[in-house]
Structures are given as C-alpha cells and as structure tokens.
C-alpha cells in the first residue's frame, strides 16, 4: 500500500511540472504547428532566473514571503523576453518553411541559449532550496514529503483550470481555438494571426519558464538541466496529442506515474518505459490520445 502511495504521490508531483511545461509546448504546436525544441531554454532560464532571484532575497535577508512573487516574476520575465526574441527574430522568418527546418532552427536556438546560461550564470550549480525549506514537511499516508512539492501539484491544477477557463470562456480563448482549427480561415475572418502567434508563443514560454522556476527550489540547477526534460516533454505531448490541452494533462499523468513507478520498482526501466510508451502511441495512434479536431480538407 505504501509503495503505491509513494508512486502515486511522486508521480503526481512529477506530472505536475511536466504538465506546466508541456502545456506550453503543446499550445505552441497547436496554434503555430511548430515543435519548439527551444522550450527547454524557457525551462532552464526560468529555473536559473528564479534561483538567482531567490539567492538575492536570501543574501540580503529580505522577507521570505517574497520568494513566491520572485518565482512568478522570473517566469514571466523569462517568458516575455526570450519568447519575444525567439518569435520575432527567428520564427517569424520561417513560418512557411519546411517543418523539419523549423524544428532544427529551434534546436539551434536551444543550443545557443544553453551556452548563454553558462556565460550569464556560470558553471557552478545553484541550490535555491530556501523556499522549500520555508514551507517545511508534512506527513501524508505515512510518507514524509515537502509541502513545497505538494504546492507544485496545486500550481499545476490552477494552471490547468485557468487554461480551460481561458480557452472556453473568454474571447481570446475562442480566437485561439479558431486559429488552432484553421489558420487560413481565421485570417480570412479578420483575426490578426501574427498577433495571436506572438501572444501564444510568449504565453507558452511563460508556462515553460514557470515549470523551471517553480521546480528550482526542489533540485540543483546546473548546465544541462533542461536536456532530459526536452525529450520528456516531447514524449508527453506526443502521447497526449500534439496541440491538445487535455492531452497534455493526460500525457503528463501517464509519463509522471510511469516514471515514478519505474524509479521505485525497476530503476533500469526508468527512461525506457516512457519512450516505449511514446513509440507505442505513435504506432497505434499517431495523432496522440486526444488529438484536437482537424478540419478535413478535400
């Protein structure tokens, strides 16, 4: 029983930050039809910026309550700045190009930003554990877990809800859905698709950065931090369905729980199992478990 509780709790925690990150990735794909490898950069930069900010707060003995706004602001800052730069100077020039080249371009951007991290933040790892320490520990079903990790789950839920609400109940959300469904028709209806693209990309970037920023206090932030996550978020998005938000949710849960199970039961299978599922989904149902509606042309 304890084993399953552990798997469930850890899986859920893991799924939470996977979800926040993958959500951004899948929305970007759904709207812009781009598989953005540079999403890993948002994650890494979000984590580093948050770690840096937490460091400043700690070093200057500023009130601990500032931790959470700092994390949030880091994410927003990174999302806006990096997101804008990448969209404006790289992606905008490539929208009509072969999708492979676009993916490769985002891979190039990812590599550049990886090195920029070293230049900006150095090679030594950051350990911004203070926010996690601040919240302490709690006992759940006999397991001792940090409260901070549990708030991660809460954050993911909030993000999921806001997303659902935003997409279905607001005007902006409906615009987004329209562009996801068919870009050309949306344009013909007068929607400023370029603007939608920019906002979407930055929004997705903020989510990616948020995942990194919020996870930073639970781990050590060092160069190469994002490399594993990039492929894992790809796996999530593929399993759930590229462009589908419920898909990102289900995909994260599947990957998170699978990984937690593997880690606790058969560590040798940890990575293998996730990608095996990704391969199986691609073979059986390439569009993913929850593919968004596609207009049938012809």
């Amino acid at each position: 029983m304890q084993f399953w509780a552990t798997v469930f709790l850890d899986g859920l925690t893991y799924a939470s930050y996977l979800f926040i990150v993958s959500l951004g990735l899948t929305i970007i794909f759904g709207v812009m039809k781009i598989l953005n490898v540079a999403h890993g950069s948002f994650y890494a930069w979000g984590a580093y910026t948050a770690a840096f900010a937490i460091g400043i707060i700690t070093d200057n003995d500023l009130p601990e309550a500032l931790f959470f706004p700092a994390i949030l602001l880091s994410a927003i800052l990174v999302g806006i700045v990096l997101g804008y730069i990448i969209e404006r100077f790289i992606l905008r020039k490539m929208y009509n190009q072969d999708i492979h080249l676009i993916v490769l371009a985002t891979f190039g951007v990812f590599l550049i930003f990886e090195d920029l991290i070293i230049i900006t933040f150095g090679v030594d790892p950051y350990l911004p554990y203070q926010p996690a320490m601040m919240l302490g520990w709690v006992d759940i079903v006999g397991l001792n877990r940090g409260v901070y990790q549990l708030t991660l789950i809460l954050l993911a839920s909030v993000v999921a809800f806001s997303c659902w609400y935003g997409l279905t109940k607001t005007k902006w959300g409906k615009l987004l859905q329209s562009v996801i469904y068919d870009r050309e028709i949306s344009e013909a209806m007068g929607i400023n698709v370029t603007k939608v693209y920019v906002v979407t990309f930055i929004g997705g970037a903020i989510l990616g950065a948020l995942g990194g920023a919020y996870v930073a206090p639970t781990t050590s932030v060092s160069p190469g931090f994002a490399i594993d996550l990039v492929v894992l978020s790809f796996a999530v998005v593929v399993i759930g369905g590229m462009g589908s938000i419920p898909g990102a949710l289900i995909g994260s849960l599947i990957v998170g729980l699978l990984r937690a199970f593997a880690v606790h039961q058969a560590p040798i299978l940890e990575l293998f199992v996730v990608f095996a599922v990704m391969a199986i989904v691609l073979i059986i149902r390439p569009e993913g478990l929850f593919a968004p509606p596609k207009a049938r042309k012809i």
Binding site: K93, I99, V103, L104, E114, V123, L269, L271, A279, L282
Partner: protein, 320 residues
Amino acid sequence: MFTGIFKDTSVRVLIVFMISLCFISSFILPDWMQNNFMYGLSRGLAILGLMLLWRTNLVSFGHALYYGFGAYAVALCQKYFGITDILLRFTIAVAAAGILGFFLGFILRKYREIFFAMLSLAFSMVLYGLLAKAEFLGSTDGMSISPSTLFGLELTRQYLFFLITFFVICAAVSIQAYLRSTLGHLTTAIQDNEIRVEFLGFSVQKAIHIKYVISACLAGGAGGLMAASLGQVDPDSMVNWNVSGELVFITIMSGSGNILAPFIGAIIFEFIRTYAFEWAPQAWAAIVGGTLLTIIFFFPGGIWSIIEKVFNYGKKKDVK
C-alpha cells in the same frame, strides 16, 4: 548495378578526393589532423545515410540509434567473442544496424514528416534508456574498445585511417550506383508525388523501407568505425538525442547535393569542434547553434551548394 560506375563524375571526384586526403594527411599535414579526418570520414557515413532520407523529405531525429547500435555491437563482440579484426568489426556494425533497421523499418515506413521524426526519436531514446541504465554494459560510463587488428596483425593508426578511407569509398560508390538507378530516382519521385509512384506500379512503402535500411547500415558502419577510432563507447556520446541532433545538423550543414558532401561537411565539423574547444570551450553549443541558424537562413543548400557555386561544379549532365 555497378556497370560504368567509375565513369561517373561524382565517383571520380570522390575517389580523387579521398586518395588525396590520405596522401596529404599522412605526409604533409600535422599528425593531430589525421584524427579529425578519421572521425570526419567515419561520421560522414552516417551523414550519407541521413542525406538519403533527407532527399525523400524524411528526417530521422533518432539516427543515433543505429550509430550507437553499431558502436555497441563492436564493443560487445569484443567483450564476448574477442573480435578485434577491423574488417569483422565493420561488417558486424553494418549488419547489426541493418537488421535492426530492417525490423523497425516495417513500422517507420508508414509515417511521414513529423511523425517519422518523432517515432525515430522515440526508438532511439528507448535504446538510450536501456543502455544508460544497463550495468553490464557500463551504464553511462560505457565500454572501452581495444585497438583493431587486421588478419591477426596489429593495426596502426595510420593504416586504420587508410582502411576507413577504403570503407568510405566502397560505401559512397555503392550509394552513387544506387542513386543513379531507377530505385534511386524513386527517392525524389516519392517526395514529388507519392500517389503517382504507386500507380506506376511500385510500392512507396517498400522503396522507403529499402532506403531506410541502407541509411541504418551506413549509420551503423559509422558507429562501428568511430568506436574503433575512439576506443570507447558510451550512451551519451553515441545514442542520446543530442547526438541525433548533431547528426542532422551536420547533414543540413553539408548539403544534399552530392555523395562527397557529407564527408566534407563532417570533416569541417570536426575541425570546427577542435578549434572551438581550444579557443572557446564553453561556447561549443552556441557555435553549433549559431552555425545551424546561419545555414538555415543563408545557405539552405549547405556547404555543398557553396562549393558548387565556387567551382561551377554542378553543371554536368550527371545524375544528381
């Protein structure tokens, strides 16, 4: 299949290039450069394989699967069978990768574009996951490989280089023979109009499958030769997704215009790497990223298109 192949201009240029390279490297240029040539030629085989797929608008984001599989096949054959002969090693690497490619090909041949790319990535990460955690294969530390032999005799690095060049020539000439054949022309035909190819009587999936196996063999051979040259295999430098990314990067950088392009591109890559590590070791990733973007934006035909322009080379009635 090979009739008159040595009259083909591309083949002639390639052979002249390779022989000159051997000569210059052995007698004129400093010793350390020979390593770059060796690694460049070895890796170039994998790039040649990716180039074949690229010509049908298929990009494999997981070709490190075969590259690493070939390398590990060599390592395992040494560990369990004591095989060190270079001819055997090369054959084993090529065959192992080819067999794997044959079976996975049945699945992959049904997919196109992003699904093909993602599925190939997934397969390669499955192997990575297995290798990274497998204790008996050295996990992330990998395995070491002792120097190769030839018919029982010790093989010096100099002669290893010659042999690698020989293997490369054999492979490249075979590929050129393939490209100028009807089956090879189906490559571009499929990219142009799949439906028509089916109605002309040939199975598109079968054509893609054949091509996929060829590219797997090439990547496997590359991995095997690299393993023999480096003396070491490990998952992070041979199977992980950024290795696949690197291979695709070199493919785009090289251009797909000619069988010589992959080797020139791969050699240039080795030199860039050497110099980058000397002058700005932390900036390696940025250099790769920057070069990738430069190529995509300014030289989409890759280095080969630049060479063509400079030498006005492409203007032949030859098969491209």
